[in-house]
């Protein structure tokens, strides 16, 4: 399936290559570079590119292109999903997935890629199995390895691959047994000029960090499971039990993992936690434009809206902006025309605002489009869909674990059209 993999950085250099079958010359990437040149933005490179003898399927993450070379028919999503899994694994191992990190750990990267694919077909992609095979590098281990000449390849054999729960290591031991669950919801919304919601949906995930000894069997139940009608699960979740009882029952993987993600679609009513009052105008003939923006909290159930960040791509004709924020700081990049305003926390008593003027190119006609405003924010201790965990129980082990559940709401792709 996957023939070779090339890693290409932002400046168009191949800095790593790996072949699972016969070697494919790196000149095949020339077709990719052509497409890259044609694209105006890095994101606009088409994910699937045909060449005379091969097909290139690429993903872009952390400003690195992961280009897979394919020789024959294969579901493109199969390759894309796998490439993303590779990036996730690198991130898991090295903390970041940058060119520098990959170059520094080139041996570990190679060992990982070797284990993840056999003859181009995925072999071990489960992070728990990989970690058994190849220990993630840490500062301490690098030091010890250098002195003693020992290795970061596990001595153990990958027994996990054979077990009925391939996602969990065997013989896990902790002194403090803890299980934390984060319910994180992101609101994607488009708000129109007049402030009414055009579309809004919620994308939620439950991320878990489980550090429990042995083979615990957990059940998680919800106060209002009816909300979850469109879900996808980690393979550990027993699907039939969910179907029958709406209870999540699972033997968790060790460490961090995404237990489930769910989607509350635009057909449901979604509460919008902030509102924006805006007045952005350009006058014909004058080289000045007015900019006036005020933010305020809406349906937040009394919780504070924090880490608010407003950004907007102003029209090309804008030369500079002279604005006055009531709180926080703003920057305007005259080259990219990107305005961003770091607001911080919204105080309902004193609403944050950003007012001032924009100077336009002299003589140029007034831009006919108005910028869209992108907003980011966080609200702690609240899941905007109203999802609530009822209880978490553990079976199969004797000890009493420490349990914790956290809720958070964030803005996903939250856009206000002006």
């Amino acid at each position: 399936m996957i023939h070779s993999l090339f890693l290409v950085n932002a400046s168009g250099d191949i800095f790593l290559e790996k072949h699972w079958k016969s070697v494919v010359s790196r000149s095949v990437c020339d077709y990719f570079f052509e497409a890259q040149e044609r694209a105006t933005e890095p994101e606009n490179v088409p994910p699937v590119i045909p060449t005379p003898h091969h097909y290139l399927i690429s993903v872009l993450r952390h400003r690195i292109y992961f280009v897979a070379v394919i020789q024959s028919e294969v579901p493109p999503l199969f390759v894309i999903e796998f490439l993303h899994r590779v990036v996730d694994t690198f991130q898991d191992y090295f903390g970041v997935c940058t060119e520098a990190a990959i170059k520094d750990n080139v041996v570990v990267v190679y060992e990982l890629l070797e284990e993840m694919l056999d003859n181009g077909f995925p072999l071990a992609t489960e992070s728990n199995i990989l970690k058994e095979l190849i220990k993630p590098p840490t500062i301490l281990r690098t030091m010890v390895n250098t002195i003693t000449g020992s290795t970061n390849v596990g001595e153990q054999l990958p027994t996990g691959q054979l077990s009925v729960v391939p996602w969990r290591r065997t013989g896990v031991k902790y002194t403090n047994n803890e299980a934390y669950f984060d319910v994180v919801e992101e609101i994607d919304a488009i708000i129109d000029k007049s402030g009414s919601t055009i579309t809004a949906e919620i994308q939620g995930v439950i991320d878990a960090c489980v550090k429990l000894t042995g083979m615990p069997d957990l059940t998680l139940s919800f106060m209002n499971p009816r909300l979850l009608d469109d879900v996808s699960f980690h393979p550990c979740v027993r699907f039939k039990r969910w179907e029958a009882e709406r209870i999540l029952s699972f033997i968790p993987p060790d460490g961090n993992f995404r237990l489930l993600s769910y989607h509350v679609s635009s057909q449901n009513l979604v509460a919008i936690p902030v509102y924006v009052k805006h007045n952005i105008t350009f006058r014909e003939g004058s080289s000045q434009g007015r900019f006036d923006l005020t933010l305020g909290p809406k349906q937040t159930m009394g919780k504070a809206v924090e880490s608010v960040l407003v950004s907007s791509q102003l029209p090309r004709g804008v030369l500079n902006a002279n604005l006055n924020p009531s709180q926080g700081t703003y920057t305007f990049d005259p080259v990219t025309k990107m305005l961003s305003w770091d607001v911080g926390k919204i105080n309902p008593q004193k609403l944050p605002s950003l007012k001032g003027t924009m100077s336009l190119q002299a003589g140029a006609s007034k831009p006919d489009e108005n910028p869209t405003i992108n907003i980011q924010f966080k609200i702690q201790q609240m899941a905007i869909s109203g999802l609530k965990v009822n209880r978490l129980d553990m079976y199969g082990e004797k000890y009493k674990p420490f349990k914790g559940i956290k809720y958070m709401t964030k803005a996903g792709k939250f856009q206000v059209r002006t």
Binding site: V48, R61, L77, P122, D192, F233, P235, S265, Q313
Partner: protein, 971 residues
């Protein structure tokens, strides 16, 4: 000596430096690489040949670094290959990496390593065997093909599933190295396809797809197994298996779409109307009945829509699209829309597929229209795909919303996208006649836009729209003529000129003037504009030669000497055509008809219109080109091939099954009633058989048990209860480690007499199996028989009382022919009481109140425990919880076999092995609440005995005591 060691000293010093540095910053490794990249190959070679493991490892790491950067390190081959037998695992692995990379180039030297792998293939540790095979098969050296073949064959028979998986991978590698081995490899594939391990399934199907995708016959016997294993196969294997099964199903089953063709979404009404009688008549001649295997595939793939792997979700979606009856396809919609929140690349592929789907089935995605709204931050190709889908979804009801949305897009800063939006508006306008005028007016407004691309695109689209209804729009043409001077985009100018020419009779005053302007600027125009100018000139010459004769001649002269071939050709052609002279023959007479022929309006259609020729989710579909190795999805066969090929004979366990399943004659098909009846008859004995054999083989492997249960159950459930649930049920059984009683009598009770049921008769019995639907339900099997002389339709369960009664109903039976009968399974939650479950059994025309009253013994489930546990639990259930009585037993009943038989006929409990001869113990749990029920029988002299029942449920205890007393007293 010193000279030889000096590089080593240097390394030592560097290593020391490393230690110091690594404390300060992690990038020391980088530094090290920089320092070492200066090292030449000779130095690396010496390090590799040194005695110290750490030096070797260090050197190998560097070599791998070189490979990663694409540098040539083949010179080091001899030095590296020596380390292949190293004890150090990491060193060994790195040597493997090197070997696989360079063996092809250094074939002779690579052979040196082979013996090491051959040895490792015999290692007692399965992982070492597997990794040896993995590397051995990755070395692309043709000489070792026979060795590889041998190794693969051996590994395919290995006890460890992991090694077998590796051998499946090796098959593909060997095949790509030497295609002549195909026949032998197919044999291995055939063998591995029979494997029951989930580890192997994905890999072997992958090998099948690579080596012999056309050998469909190998799949038959494994089809049901693959369907059942699917949920437990790892995610990547699932994708491969699903796409293979999609192809398989298209060759083996008949189309489920035929009858749907009558009521596709556009004329759904017709289906409900009374005039459907006539259609029913048509279908009656050959009713479509879905092959149970077809249904099995659909049912077993459905849960995978919940997978976190986007590729799995997509592959299930395409399976439903290509295989499911039309009305079932829509269940994939929600999952596909969910994928849109994933990474950009995933979005791209999913949107492409949705675009193709939305052309044929608008209704599927229309409720999710808003999920396709464009955000300013989307990448351009995502935006255009969303636009495509929105255009496909547009209909009379939602067009106003969509157009309002499009208005914002037109103003987008991304001009390419704005242009695409204008085209989309054009498409909406032609497709939906109600809004054509609105769209046209909107587009005319856009003509005064500042951006040139927007204006140009609008002109082009307006041109197309006007062509569809030219009569009433001369105003717009005039307006465009006015704009002509300001428009510089060639395509737009050409479009306006074409419009002028085409409708010159409607704008008789303006057209010649435009031509005059063009004559002035002709030489500076783009080629496409020149061509249209020539056309315009010709058309005007024919309609209005008085005014334009000179102008036309002037333009034709200019064109004659143009630099472009096309323009010169066109000019020459037009001149001959329109200017009459002696040489021009018959054509001249037809000039008017040629140039001013009414032209059909262009059809604005989706770019995804023809993509449905490819299977969804494939690379070919994504590129809209047939990719290498693409397997066509065949059309449904008109007549289904023999379905018995998929039957698996399991003689050892259930001999009756084989008999019942044997097709009687070639031309009979599955729904044959006779056969169904046969199955029915064999069922009671069949179930006896299975339960007895299961208890005897309860210690055997799970697969054994699986087949054990699967086949008899399959016969019961002609309403095609999912085999998946059966499979789960087996798992359930295994988890609970329930011992099924060695004897389970089948007492059949009457539910509805055929006299009172107007021909519908129903009987029920308790199969004493854990309920498939919910663990707290009691499984009940109902046998429905049609004793009337007409067929009964829509048999289902109606109202129930008490209303809170929890029943898992059977699927509605669409049709039951006279004399036919069908067995269906239900689950009823009796809440551990013998209160009757009342419900209505309904047919299309009638409703019959029926009730099922369970004997108390049926509310139990056997529970397995040792004697010790039994006594311990009994100790906890004393006092109030104990009920006992001295009973008199019939003399025939005093043997322990007879006691067991009598007791088990009354209550569904498990036998607890007893060390005392005079005490018999039985244990069970109530189905609903899971309370323990312990029964012990202590034999006394002269056929009396002490019967004790310990349970929290005292009412149940006394009822059970009464029943047992009766049974044991009977001879």
């Amino acid at each position: 000596m010193t000279s030889l060691f000096s590089p080593l000293c240097a390394t030592n010093i560097l290593l020391y430096n490393d230690i110091v540095l690594s404390q300060q910053c992690l990038s020391s490794a980088k530094l090290r690489l920089i320092v070492f990249s200066g090292l030449r190959n000779e130095d690396l070679k010496e390090m590799l040949e040194s005695n110290k493991e750490s030096h070797k490892l260090e050197a190998m790491k560097r070599v791998v670094g070189l490979i990663a950067k694409g540098k040539n390190a083949s010179e080091l081959f001899p030095a590296v290959v020596k380390n292949v037998a190293s004890k150090n695992i990491e060193l060994k692995k790195l040597v493997y990496v090197y070997l696989v990379r360079y063996a092809e180039e250094q074939q002779d030297l690579a052979l040196l390593s082979i013996s090491t792998f051959q040895r490792a293939l015999k290692d007692p540790n399965q992982f070492i065997r597997a990794s040896a095979l993995r590397v051995l098969s990755s070395i692309r050296v043709p000489i070792i093909v026979p060795i590889m073949m041998l190794a693969i064959k051996e590994a395919a028979a290995d006890l460890s599933p992991y090694v077998r998986k590796t051998s499946a991978h090796a098959i593909q590698k060997l095949y790509s190295l030497d295609a002549d081995q195909k026949e032998q490899l197919i044999e291995v594939i055939e063998k591995l396809l029979k494997d029951k391990s989930t580890l192997v399934a994905g890999s072997v199907v992958m090998a099948f797809e690579e080596v012999c995708p056309d050998r469909i016959d190998l799949i038959h016997k494994n089809y049901r197994k693959l369907c059942n294993l699917l949920v437990d196969v790892e995610e990547w294997g699932q994708v491969v298996i699903i796409s293979m099964l999609t192809r398989y199903a298209r060759t083996q089953f008949t189309s489920p779409w035929k009858e749907d063709a009558v009521f596709d979404e556009n004329n759904e009404k017709a289906f409900y109307d009374s005039d459907s009688e006539e259609k029913k008549g048509q279908t009656e001649s050959k009713p479509y009945i879905m092959d149970p295997d077809h249904r099995l595939l659909l049912r077993n793939t459905k849960p995978l829509l919940q997978s976190r792997n986007t590729a799995v979700v997509m592959s299930v979606a395409q399976l439903y699209w290509h295989l499911a009856p039309k009305h079932e396809v829509s269940i994939v919609t929600k999952s596909l829309v969910r994928l849109l929140r994933s990474h950009r690349e995933v979005q791209y592929i999913v949107l492409q597929n949705i675009a193709t789907m939305s052309i044929q089935r608008k209704g599927m995605f229309e409720p999710f229209m808003k999920s396709f709204y464009v955000r300013s931050t989307d990448a351009t190709h995502i935006k255009t795909l969303k636009l495509e889908i929105l255009t496909n979804l547009a209909n009379e009801a939602n067009i106003s919303t969509i157009l309002r949305e499009f208005q914002t897009y037109v103003k987008s800063q991304d001009k390419a996208f704005a242009a695409a939006t204008i085209q989309a508006i054009g498409r909406c306008a032609t497709n939906i006649s109600e809004v054509t005028d609105t769209c046209l007016n909107g587009l005319v407004l856009l003509l005064s836009n500042r951006d040139e691309t927007v204006v140009a695109e609008s002109v082009v689209v307006i041109k197309k729209l006007l062509q569809t209804q030219p009569t009433q729009h001369s105003e717009i043409i005039k307006h465009m003529a006015k704009l002509f001077d300001n428009i510089t985009v060639p395509m737009a100018r050409a479009s306006i000129l074409w419009l002028m020419g085409e409708y010159c009779e409607r704008v008789p005053k303006i057209a010649p003037d435009v031509l005059r302007k063009m004559a002035k600027t002709f030489t500076t125009e783009e080629d496409i504009v020149k061509l249209q100018t020539v056309n315009l000139a010709a058309k005007l010459y024919l309609t209005n030669s008085k005014q334009t004769k000179l102008l036309t001649q002037y333009i034709l002269n200019l064109g004659k000497y143009d630099q472009n071939y096309d323009i010169r050709d066109r000019t020459r052609f037009i001149r001959q055509l329109i200017v009459p002279n002696e040489k021009s023959g018959a054509l001249n007479k037809y000039a008017r008809r040629i140039l001013l022929a009414p032209k059909p309006a262009p059809v604005l259609e989706s770019a995804f219109k023809d993509r449905d020729r490819f299977q969804l989710g494939t690379l070919s579909h994504s590129l809209n080109i047939k990719a290498t190795g693409y397997q066509e999805l065949s059309d449904w066969p008109a007549v289904a091939p023999d379905q018995s090929v998929r039957n698996v004979e399991v003689k050892e366990w259930a001999p009756l099954v084989g008999k019942a399943k044997q097709p009687k004659s070639d031309d009979k098909f599955y729904s044959d009633e006779e056969e169904e009846k046969d199955e029915e008859e064999s069922e009671s004995s069949g179930s006896d058989d299975s339960s007895s054999s299961s208890s005897s083989s309860s210690s055997s492997s799970s697969e054994g048990l699986f087949y054990d249960f699967m086949l008899p159950c399959e016969l019961h459930d002609t309403d095609s209860t999912s085999l998946l649930s059966l499979y789960l049920f087996i798992n359930l059984l295994l988890c609970l480690s329930v011992t099924t009683p060695s004897f389970s009598p089948v007492k059949t009770y009457e539910l509805l007499h055929h006299m009172s049921g107007k021909g519908l008769a129903a009987k029920y019995h308790f199969p004493r199996q854990p309920c498939l639907y919910q663990p707290n339900m009691v499984a009940v099997q109902v046998i429905l028989t049609n004793c009337s002389d007409h067929s009964l339709e829509e048999i289902h369960i109606g109202d129930r009382s008490p209303a809170s009664l929890n029943i898992h109903c059977f699927n509605t039976i669409e049709r039951l022919e006279p004399e036919a009968s069908v067995t269906v399974s239900m689950g009823i939650d009796f809440s551990d009481s013998t209160q009757a479950a009342n419900f209505q059994l309904c047919t299309k025309t009638d409703q019959f109140s029926v009730s099922i009253q369970p004997a108390v013994g049926e509310l139990l489930m056997p529970s397995s425990m040792t004697e010790e546990e039994f006594c311990k639990d009994q100790g906890k259930l004393l006092g109030m919880n104990e009920t006992s009585a001295t009973i008199t037993m019939a003399t025939a009943n005093t043997s322990s076999l007879a006691i067991n038989k009598q007791l088990l006929s009354v209550a569904n409990v498990g036998v607890v092995s007893s060390s005392q001869n005079n005490i018999h113990r039985f244990a069970g749990r109530t189905v609903s609440s899971g309370a323990l029920v312990l029964v012990s029988l202590e034999l006394r002299e002269s056929s009396t005995a002490l019967l004790t029942i310990n349970t929290e449920k005292s009412i149940m205890a006394s009822m059970l005591l009464r029943d047992l007393k009766q049974a044991l007293a009977m001879a």
